[in-house]
């Protein structure tokens, strides 16, 4: 009968090097995630998502899936702990980021008192395009909420609290700023009238449907098992044919939706928001594109990151 060698794990504080916890009789095939759960038992306020364990205080933290016996340690492993601060799950993060803009825009649309001049309180704008803009904006965020609850499968578990405050201020603040101008009593409708509004509305709807299709496609890819060895590819849905040209068509469609929204409302703050969003999403898309190209040898070379044939 073989005797399994058990491991011992000693956990020290990464900054002060003080001894925090000693775990013995640890199975060699247990993962870092298991060790975090064991550590959590001794320190209940440090739930696993808040823990960062590494083999050296200066190293990057180990992943939850790493197996203990595959690590470069002897049978007694010393690990350094770092507190990542309060963490919030990605689902909650997305919900918070979407509910804010949805509700703040409506505050401005219904011209809640004290926002605009007293005589305009609780009135509604005479312009058709303002009603359309409210519908589009609200649908955009409702679609995001539905996707967050039923479609997306998030990879990393959590996000630090401070990041959420920063992200929410950005989304909520910008939404309030652009809603202020679109629903303002002195709003000027687009220069080319109904033509401009209708074309932009059509493109907006196409981009929203496109964005949703891409999310569904990515979700199905995930459903085949994590780490499946296939990169996203076009399906029978014509909206996914953008995959022939870009690695991240969801970002392309998102930028397209906001661009058409800014043309529909002819509002400079919306255009500015679109520009900032584009810069951020282009950075993310380039990162993803690089990751795909590195991981898959037969990755199509005609694909760009976010703009077909250009970026």
């Amino acid at each position: 009968m073989r005797r399994t060698t058990f491991f011992e794990v000693r956990v020290l504080n990464g900054k002060t090097k003080e001894h925090l916890c000693f775990l013995d009789k640890v199975e060699p095939y247990s993962t870092i995630g298991d060790i975090k759960s064991l550590f959590h038992k001794s320190y209940p306020h440090w739930y696993p998502a808040r823990q960062a364990l590494s083999l050296d205080p200066k190293d990057k933290s180990l992943r939850d899936e790493d197996v203990l016996q595959n690590l470069p340690v002897g049978t007694t492993a010393t690990m350094y702990f770092r507190d990542l601060g309060p963490q919030i799950g990605w689902t909650m993060v997305f919900l918070a980021e979407c509910i804010g803009p949805l509700l703040t825009y409506l505050l401005f649309y219904f011209r809640v008192p004290y926002i605009y001049s007293h005589r305009y309180a609780l009135t509604s704008s005479p312009h058709h395009v303002v009603r359309l803009a409210c519908a589009c904006h609200t649908c955009h965020y409702m679609k995001k909420l539905i996707e967050t609850m039923f479609v997306h499968r998030f990879s990393h578990g959590t996000m630090p609290l401070r990041t959420i405050v920063r992200n929410c201020s950005y989304y909520w603040g910008f939404s309030a700023w652009l809603a202020y101008y679109i629903n303002h009593p002195l709003y000027t409708p687009p220069s080319y009238g109904e033509l401009q509004v209708n074309y932009a509305l059509f493109i907006f709807m196409m981009c929203e449907v496109g964005n949703f299709s891409i999310h569904l496609t990515l979700n199905n890819l995930r459903a085949e098992g994590s780490r499946s060895n296939r990169f996203p590819a076009p399906t029978k849905n014509p909206f996914t044919w953008l995959f022939f040209f870009v690695s991240c068509p969801n970002y392309t469609y998102e930028v397209g939706a906001w661009l058409s929204f800014s043309i529909m409302t002819q509002c400079l703050p919306v255009a500015l928001y679109t520009l900032l969003g584009f810069l951020q999403m282009a950075t993310w898309a380039k990162g993803k594109h690089r990751a795909y190209s590195r991981e898959f040898k037969e990755y199509p070379s005609v694909r760009m990151a976010i703009i077909p044939l250009m970026l």
Partner: protein, 242 residues
């Protein structure tokens, strides 16, 4: 595996050579830049003193040195570039904030709002800036040439304790004095209704700028204090981990 290692060492040598030639070029450019800026601010200092001695008043002093000031202060934008390429090891953001606040004062306050050009607070911050910049640029120059006299090092890391707050007071008083003129003239402002459905009120923007000094000034001041402790007393400051 072996052949790629060889390639690695050849490449490394080339990179080291490139780095060495790059730092020779970078050092030459930085030396030229710092000498030029020291000279420029010295010219400004002397011009200001000459004007005051000859005319006995500070009224009209700003107009007489305006062009030189604008040239040399705007040229300081290249320092942000230095940090970005990496030939200067300072944070791009810290340098960026400092240079931008100077550019803002020069171009968007004193240059465009004529009525405040004869205020005393303008003279205050001009004197402070001149003294700070001459000390700073001569420090860099001597440092690059490896002949730094102790008194310049002392001046650079001690004078700021008095000059920095005085400069902030001068700048804030100038912006405050400019407020009524901005409100009356509506400069740099855009009102509704307009084709682009946007509005901008420079008056409130200035108030926000003044308020932003409250969080920003202590951060920059304590940054300089930390530098001072490190350079003058050789203390090792452990940065707080996030």
């Amino acid at each position: 595996m072996a052949s790629s290692e060889e390639d690695g060492t050849v490449e490394e040598k080339e990179n080291n050579n490139k780095r060495r030639t790059k730092s020779a070029l970078a050092t030459a450019w930085l030396t030229f830049y710092n000498i030029a800026m020291t000279a420029g601010w010295l010219v400004l200092a002397i011009a200001m003193m000459r004007f005051y001695i000859q005319k006995g008043t500070h009224k009209g002093l700003y107009r007489s040195i305006a062009r030189t000031l604008k040239f040399f202060q705007t040229f300081a934008l290249v320092e942000v570039g230095h940090c970005a390429i990496g030939i200067i090891r300072t944070s791009v953001i810290v340098t960026g904030v400092q240079v931008c606040s100077r550019i803002f004062m020069v171009w968007f306050i004193t240059n465009s709002i004529r009525q405040i050009q004869n205020e005393e607070s303008v003279i205050l911050f001009l004197v402070v800036w001149t003294m700070t910049e001459i000390t700073r640029y001569s420090y860099y120059t001597f440092n690059l040439l490896h002949h730094l006299p102790y008194f310049i090092k002392w001046a650079r890391y001690n004078l700021f304790i008095v000059l920095y707050p005085l400069g902030v007071i001068g700048e804030l008083m100038t912006i405050y004095a400019a407020l009524p003129f901005v409100r009356r003239s509506g400069i740099y402002s855009m009102r509704l209704p307009n084709k682009y459905n946007v509005s901008f009120d420079y008056y409130y923007c200035l108030i926000i700028v003044m308020l932003s000094y409250i969080p920003l000034f202590p951060q920059l001041f304590f940054h300089m204090l930390r530098q001072r402790r490190r350079v003058l007393h050789g203390e090792v400051i452990v940065e707080k981990d996030d």
